[in-house]
Symmetry: C3
Subunit: 354 residues, 3 copies
């Protein structure tokens, strides 16, 4: 059960309605009108809860679950214990996401400007927007309908934010244009100067950073992540891109539509990430590269060359995933002495010498 | 000498009292009543200062130190120059820590709410707590006795913080319960949504994150670190865990009692770190894994499998430390040609040249 | 063209004046009095714009550029299309930096304290300084001439900041002394406790961190980076050092003059980075080491030993760049079966079987 201090629940919902929301079909029950009051994980759910199974790692939990209903894939349906109503879905996690959103819809923005917020006289704040205590909205900034600005955030001069956005507390934005339905989490830094200077032993010389950050609709950017503005061109974050915490995006980077960047990854200047590409945690991509559409860069990988569309790369420096695992396998054998390279190699050498 | 602008010193203390605080025994002096006024590093200490030696790397500094007294281990006592009073300790660094705390006790919290703080009418702030300028305490939050909230921090709705805690400036907390004697440094982000969504090319779908962050007593979390709240279960930070700067802790992670996580390390979702385990700097642990009690993960390691209790792992992907060093050694030989592939290659080259 | 919402342009400037600023000589034109109104990238520049070529990767763009003038090196001059006025420079990027600064000088600080700033009565703020809304200046702090403090930043007790500095929004400083012409970006954390404690299963014991952070003139520190104060000695950031976003600098670290530290890199305690050394993105340096003057540490490298002056190191653990590439080459051959261990192994296996 969720903590009522933090979450407001809707419902109850009937099984039929839940299946409809999940985009699935009911099985293993003749009670489509049974009501459910909450969602929960398999190991904590009770008879009034809807749960889900997406990761096979947790299939043992399914066998022992007390959940009243479970959203899962067809091939898992047989493993479910009797008495659990099933909602069979092609994409169980997607189904669960939609059901959980139905029980826990995002709270509506409560319009109004807190008296302790500071709004410049030339800023334009929509009447339906919410500005929290301590937020600072600088000259010429524009805040769209139903957008909420978190406490102690700073919206810099000229920044424009669309509709239905949510800006977390202690974030700061400058030199950027933000679309609609964008969520920027606590402590996000958008639009500061990129790291551009001419290296010189007599003293490095700053290169003015004259671009902006353009954030398209439906983007999310995680806590304490940093997105620098362009040096001349703009830094672009494509529609629906999902960026996790502590991620670094350098100047001029183009992040494609729907791209996913996981925590502590970084992208160097002028690099382009393709649509629906994935950059796993702590990975890095060097500057002036192209990572193709749908490419996937593994955790901690270090990309130093272009990655063709759809390719998976691993390692530092990064290579095709298959080549990486082959190298790891050989290295492991070397380490275990199973490749006897010293001995066999000597033999080979001998052979070649003779 | 410390800068009086920033530090207030107590004392002086006699050698006998210092030895008692350090949990050590006096040697190489017949003046237990000698007074000392400060602590200092071996290379800067003077005759009124107490210093310490813990890292053998600095043993040369001991030979030349001007310190009046030194806390050290028995086996180092012979290296100390004459005229330096010695305090012999099993754990010299621990002894030094306690002595330094005696000279520099943490400043007492000065009770009161700054007039520029913003406290919601439904929040409960203990009379002995300290709320700095610009801090925002939202609806229903509770702040315990002698806890201080830094300037421009944001304590979200419903958050509960125990006694004797110290929250740095510009931090933000939501959806969390915090124990006592907890220190959260500047810019820490606690309790924001975890990175959970159903991946879909038609647009990723957010999965509501319905858990909390539970922080036990005596935890420290470094500057700009991010701890996401659970997706359903809670994210848990165990008693006395020490977390450094810029660390990422994803949703549902369980950090064990006394675990140590060093700067820029990250832990992916639903992973559990054992008690007294250590995650060194820039290391990463993948999701849904178990790192055992007392296990140690080396700097920049990438953990992709469970780590048994007490094991040391290195490398990316991580393996047993011994296996890693063996692989590195073989690889180095390969590189130097000592495993003779270089030679063979040279032979080949020769062949090609001729 | 830059967005006038965010950037104010000076000019126009004659070609002769631009060449003088760039420190270059005019070629391929007989019109030194031609006026130019802006700077732009090669692929977007028009006839009134000055562009530049520094990275050979973009030489194709030079051939097709519509720019009126281009700053470039002598050896590139021949590739330029006719009709483009040339400014030939030894260091084209440096030349461009100076020209761009001429068109876009940094906005002058507008003196004044915003009524929503909170200044302690014992703080000293120069009359020409600018303090933004929500900034908090604590007891005894000193802010120099023409220095600007961003919105919702916190300048801790006793902190001293020199002249012509720029502190971004939401930054926090404590226990530090800052020189002149220093830029600290949004969300920077300076001067919090270092990560120092005596490890003990009965509960770790904090070691008081009694040093400061000393930041010399002309330093830049990127968004959300963290610089801990010294444990006893001071943490020092040398003159003109350039530090990118999300960088971690631990207690007692010495960063040499002009050193460059790129995004998400980290330096562990008591390590010294030489003058003009470079730490590339996501690299890490272990504690108590010396990285020599002019040494370069590659992206994602993990330094575990001292690095001699001028050396380049790569890999984790880091080694000389040549040795690293040699190892990578051997490993690649192993992976492709070109070093024959696979074959030999099969032979061995067969042998063992028989």
């Amino acid at each position: 059960m969720t903590d009522p201090k933090f979450f407001q629940r809707q419902g109850p919902l009937t099984l039929a309605r839940i299946a409809e929301i999940a985009g699935g079909t009911i099985a293993a029950t003749d009670r489509p009108d049974q009501e459910f009051s909450d969602v929960a994980a398999l190991d904590t759910a009770g008879p009034d809860d809807v749960s889900f199974l997406d990761n096979r790692k947790y299939v043992d939990q399914l066998a022992e679950t007390q959940a009243g209903a479970c959203i899962l894939a067809q091939e898992m349906a047989e493993v479910a214990p009797e008495g659990v109503a099933l909602i069979v879905c092609d994409k169980p996690y997607m189904g669960y996401a939609r059901v959980a959103q139905a029980f826990y819809p995002r709270p509506r923005t409560i319009a109004g400007i807190h008296p302790a917020a500071v709004i410049h006289s030339s800023a334009e704040v929509d009447d339906s927007a919410s500005i929290a205590a301590g937020a600072v909205i600088e000259a010429g900034a524009k805040i769209g309908a139903r957008t909420s600005i978190g406490a102690n955030s700073v919206i810099g001069a000229g920044v424009e934010i669309g509709e239905d956005c949510e800006i977390g507390p202690c974030a700061s934005l400058s030199h950027c244009l933000v679309g609609s339905r964008v969520r920027l989490y606590a402590g996000v830094r958008i639009g500061q100067d990129g790291f551009g200077f001419a290296f010189d032993a007599a003293g490095h010389v700053r290169v003015p950073q004259l671009g902006r950050v353009i954030i398209d609709d439906d983007v999310e950017i995680g806590a304490n992540s940093t997105i620098d503005r362009g040096a001349g061109p703009d830094t672009m974050i494509g529609k629906g891109a999902m960026i996790d915490n502590l991620v670094q995006i350098a100047h001029n980077v183009q992040v494609g539509q729907g791209a996913v960047i996981i925590a502590q990854a970084g992208v160097a200047g002028s690099t382009s990430l393709g649509r629906w590409s994935v950059l796993a945690a702590q990975a890095g991509v060097a500057g002036h590269l192209v990572v193709g559409d749908g490419a996937r860069v593994g955790a901690q990988a270090g990309v130093m060359r272009d990655v063709p569309p759809g390719n998976d790369v691993l390692g530092s420096p990064a290579m095709q995933a298959r080549a990486f695992w082959r190298q790891m396998s050989h290295l492991a054998k070397l380490g275990r002495g199973q490749e006897r390279p010293k001995q066999t190699q000597e033999t080979n050498t001998e052979t070649e010498k003779t």
